[in-house]
């Protein structure tokens, strides 16, 4: 198989790219390798030192090749997880093989793809197939897609396929239809924009239950509208998923609870030069959607069909990423103190630019960003036993999951100095969000300064502190980053959990490393400790264990 991985694409692309004159060849290679080491100094909650896994050298590698000739494109991606995938990745990612491939024909009116493809309808609440290598997500559909523009203002999409899982596909059929109208084109609006869209997604998965109380085919529908008028804009999306078995524990598909699902998303905002405000409201009820019902509750984001990100600000400071909210679309009826059928809440963002030349703005101006969010469980009546059921209120707020607010101020003092300051306050209900215990209140302060020595030589220093009243309690963190020029950078960082109640858990999570980049290539090498917990990208998270070791990453495109 390895030979096939190498030679088929090689021969194909090599021969084609030299035999045709206006053919274009492109691609990319990415490798993330880790050498896990034993670390006596890094203790877990039971006072055990960190031990490396059986296969201590692991790597995730991706090679993508694309060939384009006139209206045709061909693509193939090979993946290699050797000696195994990085820790806590989907175990289905194993060995070396061809992962995805496609052939596409595209003109202005029509776009046909056969093979693996990525697609998203609306905001993705019903269907999104995408790739996120850091999280180990690749839920591309294998089948066919037709995008057709019969008129300038209409886009029609039809998809059919089976969803990728590991090197295989899930045991179900996915059908999708989407239509979008750009009414500005039709009505010749001058200062307004209006788009309308409708989607259908069907998932057909055979389940053999005696006296089955739900259909194998689950139908889901959505409508969306997007309106802009000068500086004002608003959009909404409504989704409905037909009655289906509610899966509360991984691989337990049964008739106990059969319910429909729904989602409502409303967004509005106003923006003009120097000022922007944006507000989002979302209500989700029983909206988890997997290509195989039993996959619900798996730890690897495997077989997810839709994209339900947590709508909170994605913070970039280390300590602000310890208690991260995760969206709660699912039903979980454990006991009267822990009942979930979804979430309701919202967030607001304000961006303001203090003008140059004012008292506060100084010579170079000042930028202020404010964000606040609040998320609660749905309120209603819940029956845990005999039979299990629930009835939610439409605009009812149940127990609180999460609240946060943050202010970020960035100021450039002169050509040499720039600084940023952040304050973040969080309420994290660990019991409700993760199903464990406790509520954590945090206050986080972060300050950073960048000094430019010469044109591209600079030093960045960051200090962070978190006060937390429960769980692992207080943390401190500092980072120094030195950019020698546009090719070489080095950094050192340390997260210190000095406030932990358990003395042996007052760990330092230090890391140091460097990066080299030139043209399209980047190579980075680092040594240090990885804090256990959630690693989140775009509101989707992956749990990683504590580890210690050397990591090397390399990527290039051509």
């Amino acid at each position: 198989m390895k030979k096939v991985v190498c030679f088929i694409p090689f021969l194909l692309f090599y021969l084609l790219s030299f035999s045709q004159t206006n053919a274009v060849f492109s691609g990319g290679f990415e490798s993330n390798a880790q050498w896990y080491l034993n670390d006596k100094g890094l203790k877990d909650e039971f006072n055990n030192p960190t031990a490396h896994p059986d296969e201590p050298i692991r790597s995730n590698n991706y090679l993508y090749l694309n060939y384009k000739y006139k209206n045709w494109s061909f693509g193939i991606q090979g993946e290699s997880y050797e000696q195994n995938a990085l820790l806590n990745m989907n175990p289905e990612y194993n060995g070396t093989n061809v992962a995805t491939y496609f052939i596409q024909y595209k003109t202005e009116k029509i776009d046909i793809t056969a093979g693996y493809f990525y697609e998203q309808f609306g905001s993705g609440l019903l269907l999104r197939s995408w790739e996120d290598r850091a999280l180990g997500i690749n839920n591309a559909l294998r089948g066919g897609r037709l995008i057709f523009k019969p008129l300038k203002f209409i886009t029609l999409k039809s998809v059919y396929g089976q969803q990728r899982t590991g090197y295989d596909v899930a045991d179900s059929q996915i059908y999708g239809q989407d239509i979008e109208f750009e009414l500005k084109e039709l009505f010749k609006f001058q200062t307004s924009d209006l788009t309308l869209g409708f989607s259908y997604v069907g998932r057909d998965e055979k389940v053999d239950l005696s006296d089955q109380k739900f259909n194998n085919l689950t139908n889901a529908f959505a409508g969306r509208i997007n309106f802009t008028h000068n500086s004002f804009y608003a959009s909404t999306e409504m989704n409905y998923k037909s009655k289906d078995a509610v899966v509360q524990v991984n691989n337990q598909v049964n008739n106990r609870l059969v319910k429909p699902g729904s989602a409502l998303l409303i967004n509005t905002g106003y923006s003009k030069k120097g000022f922007g405000i944006d507000a989002t409201f979302r209500r989700l009820e029983n909206m988890s959607f997997f290509s195989e019902r039993g996959a619900k509750g798996n730890n690897f984001n495997d077989k997810i069909m839709n994209f339900i990100p947590s709508l909170t600000k994605q913070q970039h400071y280390n300590l602000a990423n310890i208690y991260v909210y995760q969206a709660q679309p699912s039903v979980f009826l454990a006991d009267q103190d822990l009942v979930k059928a979804g979430e309701i809440g919202g967030q607001i963002d304000i961006f303001y630019d203090v003008k140059k030349g004012t008292a506060l703005g100084g010579k170079n101006g000042m930028k202020i960003a404010f964000n606040a969010s609040n998320w609660n469980a749905l309120s209603g009546t819940f029956y845990i036993f005999n039979p299990q059921d629930y009835d939610t209120d439409f605009f009812g707020f149940g127990k609180r999951y999460y609240t946060d607010f943050s202010v970020e101020i960035t100021k450039k003092w002169n050509n040499k100095w720039q600084s940023a300051f952040s304050y973040i306050n969080q309420y994290y209900n660990k019991k409700m969000v993760e199903g464990t215990d406790g509520v954590i209140h945090t206050n986080i302060l972060a300050a950073e300064a960048t000094y430019k020595f010469t044109a591209t030589k600079s030093l960045r220093l960051v200090g962070e502190h978190m006060w937390a009243d429960y769980d692992k309690k207080n943390w401190a963190c500092s980072t120094a980053e030195f950019n020698a020029n546009s090719k070489y950078s080095i950094y050192v960082t340390d997260l210190y959990n000095y406030g932990n109640d358990l003395e042996y858990q007052r760990n330092h999570y230090y890391n140091f490393g460097g990066a080299f980049r030139k043209k399209t290539t980047r190579i980075a090498l680092s040594y240090g400790r990885q804090r256990g917990g959630l690693v989140c990208v775009g509101g989707v998270c992956r749990n990683v264990p504590e580890s210690s070791g050397v990591s090397l990453s390399l990527n290039t495109s051509f």
Binding site: G27, K457, N555
Partner: protein, 159 residues
């Protein structure tokens, strides 16, 4: 594994690098669909495509700097900056108020499901490419303070 990597390198170094901009359709902030190849094809004009996201601080720093300097540069070079947001639906709604709040004078495009990012095999952002007559003529991978001045020098050489 070794074979896979050897094979990857063999392919990488034996073939001529891509230079054409992929023809991907992206939406602007008003929801209008824009074709990269068709709508940004003025003869000999330089298009600076800067990939960014609302959660990427170095990206924002780079675009802030370019925004402050671009009017001066435009006196010497005919170019246009396309700030391509790779934000997904979690953070995409923040793009419009953020870019207005910062008074960015760029063409803002949304690569919602990262079709263009994938077509160009971009792994990390910030990532900036310069396109002339639909051909990629320069790549700047990453950003450190001061890179914007190197970019300007490069633009002057490319006209």
């Amino acid at each position: 594994m070794i074979k896979f990597i050897t094979c990857a390198f063999f392919i990488v170094f034996n073939l001529k690098a891509q230079s054409n901009l992929p023809d991907v359709t992206l939406a602007n902030l008003e929801g209008k669909k824009i074709s990269l190849a068709k709508d940004f094809s003025e003869q000999d004009k330089l298009y600076v495509l800067s990939f960014w996201a609302t959660w990427c601080t170095p990206c924002i720093n780079e675009l802030d700097e370019i925004n402050d300097l671009q009017n001066d540069w435009k006196k010497e070079v005919n170019f246009e900056v396309l700030a391509i947001s790779i934000d997904d639906s979690r953070t995409q709604k923040r793009v419009k108020p953020l870019t207005s709040g910062k008074e960015w004078d760029f063409t803002i495009l949304l690569d919602s499901n990262q079709d263009l990012k994938r077509a160009l095999s971009i792994v990390n952002i910030p990532y900036t490419i310069v396109v002339k007559n639909n051909k990629i003529v320069h790549v700047q991978n990453g950003y450190v303070p001061g890179n914007e001045l190197e970019l300007l020098k490069k633009l002057k050489l490319l006209i």
